[in-house]
Structure formats: structure tokens, C-alpha cells
């Protein structure tokens, strides 16, 4: 792949960026064995030749002088923050020997005693290693803050993993707590181009955010809102559509969802003797099975009595709930004026063009060019299930789910939507797309209580409670060893002090990573992995508008004496005596069970090249093995209209989430039988509404401010904040210069930019320098993730140390009890530190 216009003389090698999880197509200029430049691959329809700052800085990861390039063991048995591990380099054979010996003892005793912190999404196929070892435990998973409640709702609604509005056809885009199309979330490089194009053709963007984020600054309208109250804003808009304007897509709700199904007072559907859900048949004025009544004879609204029992349609139940969610009441919660809620609701439904159709590729679809998009900031809260349900239902009110112009599901990977028929003509709910749902168990096996979240994610933050008080949760063992795989729990988990205590109790810690971090410096053995420019894989993760894999391939000889993570884990599996099971697990997660001719032989060891070659051929055929991908870069193509719009045919979507209530009832019964008392179930509800969460209640305890964290395209996860190229850029932007405080608020407290301030939450406190700005809600303090690292080995990077996650709590009080999603907002007290005038400002000299 040569670029004629390039001023360089060398070879351009196609590959895939690894600076975040999504993997833009790139080409890397290599001359004399040295990588000189990275550019976006213009042939890749995902990122369209664009590349974000992280991707452009990829060389700085490869050639980072602080990378660990050889295996190391610690010689100082003392562990703790600031303790020098006294590393010494060792051979791979010695390193493997130590790790196999120590983990072997754990495995022989009780494999559950291995605690694993997993990162590196692009190599998600490797995340099953702990399961083959025999451990169900994940100390942390990076999705705690983002997708904990998001994915378990996307899956059941339309078989998707994520979601995005239709860049191409949407005309009115409400953006809540998300950087999609501007600065973060799904495939930001290509998405920013698509968003820009949509704006050029006239699409309006309204952004709700406590902070004037990139998405807010570039929007047609920014509406500041209190953190964690976005749902109230949307519930207020739903009230306007249903009770004030009487404008919503009746046909969609009646014909394509379970909104017309009749609901008893106990929250369950009215069912006939055959177990079929009933609707109200207007012809007979009586209930009838849903599949015996033509749509035009079903009623969407109403209260009826059958056999002496009152029944309402699912839609009517939510309509009744919405009565009390007036714009005036929601305004008190959100601080957004009621007229604004009414105006945005009106603009939205007007733009949605109810009843319109559009023909695409010879097929006629509903056309709903207005949609609400959302992500972390709007739903990573203790009632995140209700948040996500609300946003989906609001979109459903205008019938825009998976239709042109509307709110579109995004599949997990190349396999597309998880579509299979469920009961009552519905799409089968798929809340678990990353692994099968674990059955309830008491005592639980997993320390993050995975068996107690039947529709949830993996709530790694609960380890901060369970590992310090295991008996309270019935855990009959304590982990003794830890595997850190590209994960930094001392940075990415809440309640850092508790995490330190947990790590202090570990008898053995092994790290597979590239850098020393807050967490890996606690390791006994460090096994250095290769960077994305030195390793191999095929990648396809959460592609918003495309499908197909792109290749990651070594563009230079690996530096130092590093090994690919796949090779490391395979060698350890071999030495621990379970390489056969490891191969079998790869057979499952790679999908080879669907193509048995590609099954790995459990008795044979495969190189990374052999593995990915089989993977490529199993999907794309014998002609498109790994070598084909290395030459051509990718097999990415735009998703077709059939793959994008209504990919589930006539299956109905859940408007009324009866299965969530049933799941909660089933869990409650099992817990009662097991004698578990005090476990909360109050979020297992079929419909969302407003209720206060812990962060609202903490306000009454004197924590009057809201603290939030945020990121922009410069940074993601932890590793980019130790890259000098990126930190230099971010330090030039005042938004990353300190803890953001509104100018009016700052004046009230006599705070100026550069003042040292302390934020104290119920869980912990942080300090930092104030950055006075106009663009943040007066009751909110903002902490960029760019200033959160507290351990850095690169002398060119200054430690900022305002470690936001210390403010968060990992307990069930701050966890959605149905999804396991974590509350990512903290209530805090604000203090001005004495002597701040003497502090040296680092941000702007």
C-alpha cells in the first residue's frame, strides 16, 4: 500500500490502531526497520482515513523509553504505594517457571483463588484464560464505568451491543452524556467525520451535559444539567409527548412492540391457558392471544376488566407513570427549565416526521429522522437500568428504533445482531452477549457476585466490598493470587484504599503489560507484552456503520525481549497443564465450533499466526487467510440496509420489560431459599420512572457539589496519560488544567484558577488545582481523566494526581442492583486549601 503523495521513502504497511478498543484502519510508514509515521487508512470505510490524536501518537507507545522490554521479578518483598520493587531482569524461562509454580499451587488448592484484572479489549478472545484456569473472578473490567447498565438493555431491546443515531439520515440529534461523533465512544475518528458531514447538511444537535464538552461546544444548543438526572429530563419530555402533545408513533408501538400486551396489577402479562400474552381485542371487547388479533383491532391504551381483574396495556402502565413526571417536577430535579424540556420535546417529535416512509435499495422503511443518543455520562449511575430503559422508550415513542434516521443498534462484532425469536412474538432477550448468563449459586463462586446478577454485567467494583468482608456475602474462600492483564485496578477501581488493602493481601501477583503502572508495580513478576505495532490479531469491535475485520500486524521487529500476550498465556497454560482446555476454549470463542474443520487440536500448540490464520479463514474462506489480510489490511465494508434497518424482521421489541421483573422475582425466590437477607431487588422493574439514587441522597448529607470525570479524544483508559506527546497537547487545553469549577461558584468561594482545592466524598478525597471556567454547571466540579494518574515512570510526564476514582464507592448502595452498573458521579464537599497562593501552577506556567 504505497502513498504516492508521501514525502517519505519507505513502505506503508496496513494495520489496525490499538490505542483504544475500536481499531481504526491505519498504515504505518516503515523505513530501515523503523516505524516513522502513522496515518489513517483511506481505504477503510470505518475511519475513512481519519485518525484521532491517540492514533497519531501510536509511535510514542512503540518507542516509549519507559516500556518494559524484558521479564522482571521483584526483589523487595515489601509492597505499597511508592515502594521500590527493586526489579531485576530475568529470562523468560525463569519468569515462566516462577509464575507456573506459584499459580500452580493456587490451582491445586482452589483455582477460584486467582483474581484477574482484565483489559486490552482488542484481544478479548484471550479473556477466557482465567475460566480455563478455573477461576470465575474478575477484579476489574474496564466496562464498569461505561457499559455496566448500557449493554444489558441494548441486548434485550434489539439484539445489539451498543447503539448510535443514524449519521446519514438523522436530522435532529439529542446527545446526552456522550461524545459520539465528537470526542469519544464508538469509533471516534470516522464518527467525527460522519457527524461533521451531517452538520453540513443541516442536522441539528442538542447536547445535554453538566460540562461544556466538545459535543456541547459544537452543538446547536447546550443544555447544562445536573449529573445523574438526565433520565428526569427525558421522562419530562416523554410526559410532554404522551400527555400534552398527544404525539407519538401509535402504529410502531402497537405493531412492533409489546406495548399493547395486557398487564395485570402484579406486573405480569395476562396470559391465556396456553401461556400466550393477551391483547385487548376491540372487535370482541375481550382479551385474546396476541397472535390472533390483527393490529388494527388491538388497542394501545386503556384500562379494562376481565374476569373481575383490572388490566392495562403495557403502554398505558407507562403512560400512567408519566402523569407525575411533569416538566415542572423534572425541572426541579435537573435544573433545566420546564419550558426548555417542553420545547425540546416538541422539536424532537416534529423532526421525527411520524408516519413518513423512505425507500432504500428498493425497500420501504419508516423514516424517523430524530433520535436520542446517550452513553456513559447519562446512564452510568446507580439506577442505570432505568436510565437506559428511559432513553430506549423515549426513542420508541417516535418509532425510531432501527429505522432510517433513527436510533440504530450496533452489534458487538462481525456476527451482527443477536437475533432469535423469544416468547410472545418477541425478540429473545439477550442481556449477556459477552458470556453465558451464570446460574444463581450460594455460596457464590465469584467474588464479584456474578451469580447474583442474572441480567447484569460483571460488577468488578463489588470486590472492594466482598474481598474485605467475604463472610458477609457467603464467600467461603479468599483469593491469594492476582493476574493483572493490561489492567490497572489501583487506577480504574473506586475506593483506592480498599484496593490497596486487597492487593496487599495477595501472596503472588503477576502482570502482563507494557508499562509499570500504579498496579503493576505491585507485581512479583512482570511479563512484557508487545505493542499493537509488534503483534498480530484480527479486530472487529462495536462497529457503528460497518462490519468486517481489519488486521493488526507487526510493522517492525519487536523491541527488546517481549512476547505476544497470546504466546504468554499459551505457554503458561502449557506449563500449568491445561493447554488442551485452552485450545478448546479458543475453539469456542473464535467460533470454530460453528466451522468444525477449523477446530484447534487440543494436543497441539499453535502460534499466534496460525491461530489468526484459522480465524480469518473460518470467517472469510480459504482464500482470505492471515496473509491476505496482511497484504490488504482489512475486509471492512459498510453494513447493508438489510443488516442495519429492522434486522430482526417482524419480531416485536420490548416496550414493557416484563422479563426483567420476572428475573428479579426468580432471583428473590432463590435468595430466600438460600437464606440470603438484605439483597436489594428494587430495580427489577418492567418500566422506568424517577427515583432518587444514592448521589441525590448524599446531597442531603452535606455533600452539596456533584463531581464528574470526563475524557476527550486525546485519552482513553489509563495508558495514554503517560505518553508525553499526548500529555503535552492536553496540558495546553485549560479543560485539562485542573479541577473545573464554574466562575460564579468560584467567585462565591473566593477561588481563582490555580487555587489548591480538596474534594471530599463519602468514599474519599482528592486534591488538585482549581481551573475556573464558564462552561460547567454551577453545582458541578469536573475532573478530566488527563489529570488522574498518580504514578508515572516517564520523566517527561508530570504526575497530576487528582485521582477521581478515589471519590467513588464500590458498594451496592452505589451499584445498580439489577445490572451491576456503577455510579460514576460523586457528591462532594469543596474546600479551599490554605497556602494555595504559594503553589506553582503547572497548567499554564
Amino acid at each position: 500500500m504505497a502513498t504516492a503523495a508521501s514525502a517519505y521513502h519507505g513502505s506503508w504497511i496496513p494495520s489496525t490502531c490499538g490505542m483504544c478498543l475500536h481499531g481504526c484502519g491505519i498504515k504505518v510508514l516503515v523505513k530501515d526497520g523503523v516505524a516513522l509515521k502513522i496515518e489513517g487508512d483511506p481505504t477503510n470505510p470505518d475511519n475513512l482515513g481519519k485518525l484521532c490524536p491517540k492514533g497519531n501518537a501510536g509511535l510514542a507507545r512503540l518507542y516509549d523509553s519507559t516500556r518494559v522490554l524484558r521479564p522482571m521479578k521483584r526483589t523487595n518483598p515489601m509492597k505499597g504505594p511508592g515502594v521500590n520493587p527493586a526489579w531485576v531482569e530475568i529470562t523468560w524461562d525463569e519468569a515462566y517457571g516462577i509464575v507456573a509454580r506459584e499459580l500452580g499451587k493456587v490451582r491445586a488448592d482452589d483455582p477460584r483463588k486467582l483474581l484477574c484484572a482484565l483489559g486490552d479489549f482488542q484481544r478479548i478472545l484471550l479473556w477466557g484464560w482465567p475460566a480455563v484456569f478455573g477461576s470465575p473472578n474478575f477484579f476489574t473490567s474496564l466496562g464498569n464505568y461505561c457499559g455496566g447498565s448500557y449493554h444489558p438493555v441494548n441486548g434485550p431491546v434489539d439484539g445489539s451491543f451498543a447503539a448510535i443515531n443514524d449519521y446519514e439520515l438523522c436530522n435532529y440529534w439529542i446527545q446526552i452524556g456522550s461524545g459520539d461523533g465528537f470526542s469519544s465512544h464508538l469509533h471516534v475518528s470516522g464518527s467525527s467525520k460522519r457527524m461533521a458531514d451531517a452538520r453540513m447538511r443541516g442536522m441539528k444537535v442538542v447536547t445535554l451535559d453538566p460540562r461544556c464538552s466538545v459535543a456541547a461546544a459544537k452543538a446547536d444548543e447546550w443544555i447544562p444539567i445536573l449529573p445523574g438526572t438526565d433520565r428526569a429530563f427525558v421522562l419530562g419530555m416523554a410526559h410532554v409527548l404522551v400527555h400534552e402533545l398527544d404525539r407519538f408513533d401509535r402504529e410502531f408501538l402497537r405493531d412492533r412492540t409489546n406495548a399493547p400486551y395486557l398487564v395485570l396489577d402484579d406486573g405480569h402479562f395476562l396470559r391465556d391457558d396456553a401461556g400466550k400474552a393477551q391483547v385487548w381485542d376491540t372487535r370482541a371487547q375481550a382479551p385474546a392471544a396476541w397472535d390472533t388479533v390483527p393490529p388494527e383491532a388491538m388497542t394501545l391504551e386503556g384500562l379494562f376488566v376481565t374476569e373481575g381483574r383490572p388490566v392495562r396495556t403495557g403502554f398505558q402502565v407507562w403512560k400512567d407513570i408519566l402523569v407525575t413526571h411533569t416538566p415542572e417536577r423534572m425541572s426541579e430535579i435537573t435544573t433545566v427549565p420546564a419550558p426548555t424540556i417542553r420545547r425540546i420535546a416538541g422539536e424532537f417529535v416534529e423532526a421525527a416526521r411520524l408516519g413518513a416512509t423512505i425507500e432504500i435499495a428498493g425497500k420501504t422503511y419508516p423514516y424517523r429522522p430524530a433520535a436520542l443518543n446517550y452513553y456513559r455520562g447519562s446512564q452510568s449511575h446507580a439506577n442505570g437500568l432505568f436510565d437506559n430503559m428511559t432513553y430506549k422508550l423515549f426513542n420508541m415513542l417516535v418509532g425510531n428504533i432501527d429505522v432510517p434516521g433513527g436510533h440504530l443498534g450496533v452489534p458487538l462484532d462481525h456476527r451482527g445482531f443477536f437475533v432469535s425469536p423469544g416468547e410472545d412474538g418477541m425478540l429473545k432477550p439477550e442481556p449477556h452477549q459477552l458470556h453465558p448468563a451464570p446460574p444463581f449459586k450460594y455460596p457464590p463462586d465469584s467474588t464479584h457476585l456474578m451469580e447474583w446478577f442474572p441480567i447484569g454485567f460483571d460488577a468488578g467494583q463489588l470486590n472492594t466490598e466482598t474481598l474485605l468482608e467475604p463472610e458477609r456475602f457467603g464467600l467461603n474462600y479468599r483469593p491469594e493470587a492476582m493476574l493483572l492483564y493490561h489492567s490497572n485496578p489501583l487506577w480504574n477501581l473506586p475506593e483506592t484504599g480498599k484496593v490497596e488493602e486487597i492487593m496487599r493481601r495477595m501472596k503472588f501477583v503477576v502482570a502482563i503489560d507494557i508499562h509499570l503502572t500504579e498496579s503493576t508495580q505491585w507485581a512479583d513478576v512482570f511479563l512484557p507484552d508487545r505493542t499493537f505495532l509488534e503483534s498480530t490479531l484480527l479486530n472487529c469491535l462495536e462497529p457503528p456503520v460497518v462490519t468486517g475485520h481489519s488486521v493488526r500486524q507487526p510493522v517492525v521487529e519487536p523491541l527488546g525481549d517481549t512476547r505476544d500476550a497470546y504466546e504468554i498465556l499459551t505457554e503458561l497454560a502449557e506449563r500449568l497443564g491445561f493447554r488442551d482446555d485452552w485450545n478448546d476454549l479458543l475453539n469456542v470463542v473464535c467460533g470454530f465450533t460453528q466451522k468444525p474443520e477449523y477446530l484447534l487440536n487440543p494436543e497441539k500448540r499453535y502460534s499466534d499466526h496460525e491461530l489468526w490464520d484459522r480465524y480469518a479463514k473460518s470467517i472469510y474462506g480459504e482464500e482470505r487467510g492471515l496473509e491476505w489480510f496482511k497484504r490488504n489490511g482489512h475486509a471492512v465494508r459498510p453494513r447493508t440496509p438489510e443488516e442495519t434497518y429492522l434486522p430482526y424482521g417482524q419480531l416485536r421489541l420490548p416496550f414493557y420489560f416484563e422479563f426483567i421483573q420476572r428475573t428479579g422475582e426468580d432471583l428473590r425466590r432463590k435468595m430466600e431459599e438460600a437464606g440470603i437477607a438484605g439483597w436489594p431487588f428494587d430495580n427489577y422493574k418492567p418500566l422506568p420512572f424517577w427515583k432518587d439514587s444514592a448521589v441525590i441522597e448524599d446531597g442531603a448529607r452535606g455533600y452539596s457539589f456533584f463531581a464528574i470525570t470526563f475524557k476527550e479524544a486525546l485519552h482513553t483508559f489509563a495508558d495514554t496519560m503517560v505518553m508525553p506527546w499526548l500529555t503535552e497537547v492536553s496540558e495546553k487545553d485549560p479543560v485539562h488544567g485542573g479541577i473545573l469549577i464554574n466562575a460564579q461558584t468560584a467567585a462565591t468561594f473566593g477561588i481563582q484558577t490555580g487555587a489548591r482545592i480538596r474534594l471530599t466524598s463519602p468514599a474519599g478525597s482528592i486534591e488538585g488545582l482549581a481551573q475556573v471556567v464558564e462552561g460547567i454547571h454551577p453545582q458541578v466540579l469536573g475532573v478530566s481523566n488527563a489529570i488522574t494518574r498518580h504514578f508515572v515512570t516517564n520523566p517527561a510526564v508530570r504526575v497530576k494526581g487528582s485521582h477521581f476514582n478515589r471519590l467513588l464507592a464500590g458498594s451496592m448502595r452505589y451499584t445498580d442492583n439489577a445490572t451491576g452498573g456503577l455510579e460514576s458521579t460523586a457528591r462532594v464537599r469543596l474546600e479551599v486549601m490554605r497556602g494555595w497562593e504559594e503553589e506553582v501552577r503547572y497548567a499554564h506556567g
Binding site: 479473556w127 459477552l434 468444525p596
Partner: protein, 95 residues
């Protein structure tokens, strides 16, 4: 006699003592095949993988790439199919 290619993964492999084998199999159902497959302890795979005639929740059986539901063990096999059987690991990874 028609044959069926059987692949066994994880626990199923350990039960059978092989990972891949071409098995002679006259006309019958998946359940019949599982009854025919002897485990290393002298039992049958059917006895290990089923409960009350249904596939246990912690095992999976795929025929030509398609996963069978628990009540689909009566699916006929005509010969030439590829049957994969495996135990389900529920703690694959976080996210």
C-alpha cells in the same frame, strides 16, 4: 454405513477420551448418537449430557454449526454431519 464426524471439547473430550473422531452411525437421532458414544468410564455420553431426556444447561451440542436447544436431541442425523459437543464455561470474561 454412514458416518458422522464428532468433535468433543473440554469436559466432553475428557469424558470421551478423544477430541475428534469419525463415527459409523446408522440412521437415528442426535440422542441415539450420544447413546452410542461410550465414555472412558464405561457409560455413555447421553447419560452425562442429559437430564430427563433434555440436554443439560451446562453442555452444548452443535450439528453442522447450529446449536441445539435442550429439547432438540431428537434431531435426525442422516450421515455426513459434523457434531460438536462441549461443556459451557459461564465465566468466560468480563467486559
Amino acid at each position: 454405513m454412514p458416518t458422522v464426524d464428532v468433535a468433543a471439547l473440554g469436559t466432553a473430550r475428557k469424558l470421551l477420551g478423544f477430541s475428534k473422531r469419525r463415527v459409523s452411525f446408522g440412521q437415528g437421532t442426535v440422542a441415539d448418537l450420544l447413546r452410542q458414544l461410550a465414555t472412558v468410564d464405561g457409560g455413555t455420553l447421553y447419560a452425562n449430557l442429559t437430564c430427563d431426556g433434555r440436554l443439560r444447561g451446562d453442555f452444548a451440542v452443535l450439528v453442522d454449526g447450529f446449536s441445539l436447544k435442550p429439547d432438540q436431541l431428537d434431531r435426525p442425523l442422516l450421515g455426513g454431519e459434523q457434531v460438536v459437543t462441549l461443556a459451557i464455561l459461564r465465566h468466560l470474561h468480563g467486559g
